[in-house]
Each structure stands twice: as C-alpha cells, then as structure tokens.
C-alpha cells in the first residue's frame, strides 16, 4: 500500500488542515474536529449537522456551506465520530431554531449521534435525527441492523439544506429529509477494495474476474461475489436490484457516483448505460450528478442512487448551493 500520507494516525488531522487552507468559506476546528460555515450559524435557520467515519470525502465536510450543511463531524477513517465532537458540531450549527442530525444507518453512527443529541438537549438545543438507509443491497428487517445509509445521504443533505435555507422549521426540514430518504434507493459494485491506512492492505480481495455486488461504503461485503462483466451489465444489475425494491418510474434524479479510484471517464460511460436502462424502462433522468460524491477511500467501483422526483424536490434540488463539492446558482 502506498498512500499520500504522513502516517495512518495523522490522516484526518492532515486532511482537515488542508480543507481549512483550501476553503475560506469553512471554519475548521482542528481541536474538536468540526467543520462548519465560516459565516457561523444562520440566524433563524434550522441547523443541519451530519458526520460519520472519514474516507468518504467529499462527504460530509465538502457539503458544508450555503444550501446544505451547517456543520460536519468527521470521525476516524470508517469510524463514527464521538459524542463530544458531534455535540460541538451541533453547537456550531445552532442559532436557536433547532438542529437536524443526518445520520447514516450504522450502529456506531446511530449510537454516537444519539448520545450527542441527548447532551445537546441537556443544553436546550432541540435536535431531531433522520437516519438514512437507502441501500437496496441490504435486506430491511426488524431482526437485523436494517439498511445502510449510502448515496441517498447526499440527496438528503442537499434537499433538506435547501428547505432549511428557505426558512422551513425543524419538523418540516426533518419531514422533507425523511421523505427524500424514503424515495431514494442505491446500489454499489466494487472492482477493487479500498485500503484503510491503519490496516495497510485492501479490505477484501477480489480476483481479476470478480466484482463485489452490493458492497458497502466501508468495503463491507455485499450480497454476493459476481463475475466481472461489461459496464452495461454491471449497471443493469444495480438498476435491476433498485427497481425490484422500488420501481424506477417517472422523473428521477440519478447520481452515478465513483468510489474514489475509478476515473471520471469510466463514470461517464457507466452513466450512459444508466440513462439507457432508465429510458428503456420508461422513466426519465431529469437531474443528475456524475462524479465522486460519497467515496470509499481508494476503492474502485461505482454506486447508483435513484430518487423519484416531484415538483417540490426539483425546486429544492435546483436551489442555489455553495459548498466545496456541490455548487450552483451562486
């Protein structure tokens, strides 16, 4: 394993210093590991906080800014942040109108965010949590840990962020966030595992002829190993799973996301296949994102997220956003 790092222990601290230097629009608290808007919490606006393990950049720090998050709490690589850190992010995001916690559904994230929310409530900050769980690869059952939160989290942050910026109150922002999560499904396929710096070797081994179908964003194994195939077939497999779980119909927002080490030229090729599949099923790609939006370190592969649009969601999606990783309209 070769990586552009100083040591596995300094990865997060070094990256935070880099983010601080690269983005004057961000305030980066190196001590507490909190990324927030340099402008501070917006008076009268619901605050949006997310966080989770690092290694998914630009998620979440890259989505702090006008129209999306107010603060983010990055944990160690693939490890949820600790309660104190989330509490500090919550404080940074609060202007008195309450704070929405956007939490990806992993036990560690859920537990630490819950503890942070309790601490915040003790300080009279009202917190509502929305747990994202859009991964169609995992069976949803009350007997399991449920579905994982993956790519749909980006949609939740953008759309709930726009609603908050428009002045919606905490319950309304939570409602739209919950709705976005409900109408989104994602599925990921990996060609080659990423390497956690502290581990020093890829999270799993795949032969030249194999792919991991339904892989998680932390390199968790998926539903099965499959045979390597043309991107047409891989994209078709992913969309078949999504479609079986929640029909792909009407106008959709599609994110063709790279896992970190698949080049953009491949992601565009994969997106072309996704559009062909979706149009072949009578739906329409009305909005899209193609690129690295929720990654898994240097993992090779892609994920597809499909959201069913309605007029309000289109309006909120199109609303201005100004963050390091997503920017339009201003």
């Amino acid at each position: 394993m070769k990586k552009l790092i100083n040591s596995p222990d300094s990865v997060i601290a070094d990256a935070l210093r880099g983010m601080a230097a690269a983005h004057p629009s961000l305030a980066v608290d190196l001590e507490n590991r909190v990324i927030s808007r340099a402008s501070g919490a917006t008076q009268g606006k619901v605050g949006l906080v997310s966080g989770g393990g690092s290694g998914h950049e630009p998620l979440h720090g890259g989505y702090v800014g006008y129209g999306m998050l107010d603060a983010a709490a990055p944990g160690e690589v693939y490890t949820s942040p600790v309660p104190d850190q989330i509490l500090a992010a919550t404080r940074a995001a609060d202007s008195g109108s309450g704070v929405l916690h956007i939490v990806k559904n992993y036990t560690g994230d859920v537990l630490n965010f819950r503890m942070a929310a309790e601490l915040a409530e003790d300080e009279d900050v009202r917190v509502v949590s929305v747990v994202t769980n859009d991964d169609a690869a995992v069976e949803d059952s009350t007997y399991t840990a449920g579905r994982r939160g993956v790519g749909g989290t980006v949609f939740v942050e953008k759309i709930a962020g726009a609603a908050a910026e428009e002045g919606a109150d905490l319950d309304a922002v939570a409602r739209i966030a919950t709705h976005v999560n409900e109408v989104t499904r994602s599925f990921a396929i990996a060609l080659h595992a990423g390497t956690v710096p502290a581990a020093g070797k890829p999270g799993f081994e795949l032969a030249e002829t194999e792919v991991e179908l339904g892989v998680g964003i932390h390199g968790e194994p998926g539903r099965e190993r499959g045979a390597m195939a043309p991107v047409h077939d891989l994209v078709g497999y992913a969309l078949d799973v999504i479609h079986a779980d929640r029909p792909v119909a009407g106008d959709v927002l599609v994110m063709l996301n790279g896992q970190g080490a698949s080049p953009l030229i491949e992601l565009y090729g994969a997106f072309a296949e996704a559009v062909a599949w979706i149009e072949g099923h009578g739906a329409r790609v009305a909005r899209s994102l193609v690129g690295n939006y929720i990654t898994s370190l240097d993992q090779q592969g892609f994920s597809i997220s499909v959201l069913s649009l309605d007029d309000e969601l289109v309006r909120l999606w199109d609303a201005p956003v100004e963050t390091p990783a997503l920017r339009w309209g201003r």
Binding site: G53, G75, E76, V77, Y78, T79, S80, P81, V82, P83, D84, Y106, T107, G108, L111, N112, M115, D135, A137, V138, E139, Y143, T144, A145, R148, V196, A198, A199, G203, F204, G216, H218, G219, E220, P221, G222, R223, E224
Partner: protein
C-alpha cells in the same frame, strides 16, 4: 506510580486496556472479515489513553474511577465500540457506587450491570453475534463457580475458558447487529471480533490473577 486504592479493580481495567493495545492488529483483522476493520484501531486508540492517563485517574472510589475510564473511552473511541464499552464501564461504575473495595459478589453485580447497559445501548442480546455472546456466558460461569465455592483464580480460569469457547462458537451465528449484520448469511463461518476480544481479555485477567 500511585498507591493502589482498589488493586483488583485496577488490575482488571489495566489488563483490559493493555490487551486492547497489544492486539490492535489482531482485533482489526478479525473485524475486517465481514466488518470494516476498525475495531482494533478504535480499541487501541481509546485504551492507550486510559493507560497514558493511568496515574491521574480519579480514585475517590471505584464508581468514580470506572466512570472516568468510561468518559475517556466514549470521548476517544468512535464507532460502535465507544458507546458499547463506554456504557459498560459507566454501568459498572454506577453499580460500584462509592465502594472503595469490591467483593466477589460486587464484581458479579458490576458485570451484570455492564451487560444490561450494553444490551440497552446496542439493542442486542445473546445470539446476535456480538461481544455479548462471549461475555454473558462467561459471567454466568463466573457466578456459578464462585457460588460453588471456587476460588477467584479458578473461577476466572473457568470463565475465560467459557468465553473462549463461546467466542469460537460465534462462527456458527448470523450477525444480527453491527456492521457485520449487513452481510447476512455471509457472516456465517467468521468469528465476531468483539467476542474474541472479550475472550482474550478474560484469559489475560485469569492468567495474571493471584488469589
């Protein structure tokens, strides 16, 4: 060094912490099979601070001591393990209260409290393929041996043996909690990292115990 206020409690906590630090790679590798591989790193980073701060931890009473350790853990260990192990230490501390010495019965009660804390925090129980699958049977065995009149050393050895057997037996379970749960059936055949950690800790506690 400090004057040991409650040597048995300190010995157990210190052994747990040292085990976590010594087994960073091993525990991480176990978690990597169907989890995400950070268990070893998280535990080592958290417990190494416990060791670094060791002499300075408030030893007013056992409850205070354990709660301070718990705070260090939750403040430093992210992921699932922070809340789980932090809760265990908090609850054990609450059970110990202002005691400054701990009897065998106290110890069992503290471990039971820790287990209840983990169950509540993790919404988990025996059979879910977590550390509880080693911890609960081990504490059951400890209590039974002590009740049957065994000495501390013998009872701990027996409990460690049970912990190890049950940790091995997690291979047969489907993970229902934690990150491994997302893999469903594919988790069969793999060891639960947390259960193995409990077994190794129990063995080291028993191995160094002198009645």
């Amino acid at each position: 060094g400090h004057l040991s206020a409650f040597p048995a409690v300190e010995y157990v906590v210190r052994t747990i912490a040292q085990t976590a630090v010594d087994n960073e790679t091993y525990f991480g590798d176990l978690d990597a099979v169907v989890g995400d591989g950070d268990f070893g790193y998280s535990m080592a980073r958290g417990f190494e601070i416990v060791l670094a701060d060791w002499d300075a931890i408030d030893r007013t009473d056992v409850g205070t001591f354990l709660k301070k350790v718990a705070l260090t853990i939750t403040g430093r260990i992210g992921g699932t393990s922070g809340p789980i192990w932090g809760t265990a230490f908090i609850r054990a501390g609450v059970a110990a209260g202002d005691r400054t010495a701990v009897t065998a019965d106290d110890a069992v009660a503290m471990l039971r409290a820790a287990i209840e804390g983990i169950k509540t925090r993790g919404q988990s129980d025996v059979g879910d393929k977590t550390l509880l699958d080693a911890l609960i049977p081990a504490v059951d065995r400890l209590e039974a041996e002590l009740a049957a009149g065994a000495g501390g050393q013998a009872a701990l050895e027996a409990a460690a043996t049970t912990a190890r057997e049950r940790a091995e037996a997690t291979r047969e379970l489907i993970a229902k909690r934690g990150r491994a749960a997302y893999t469903g059936e594919r988790s069969i055949g793999t060891l639960d990292a947390g259960a193995v950690a409990v077994a190794v800790m129990a063995e080291r506690v028993a191995g160094g115990w002198a009645d």
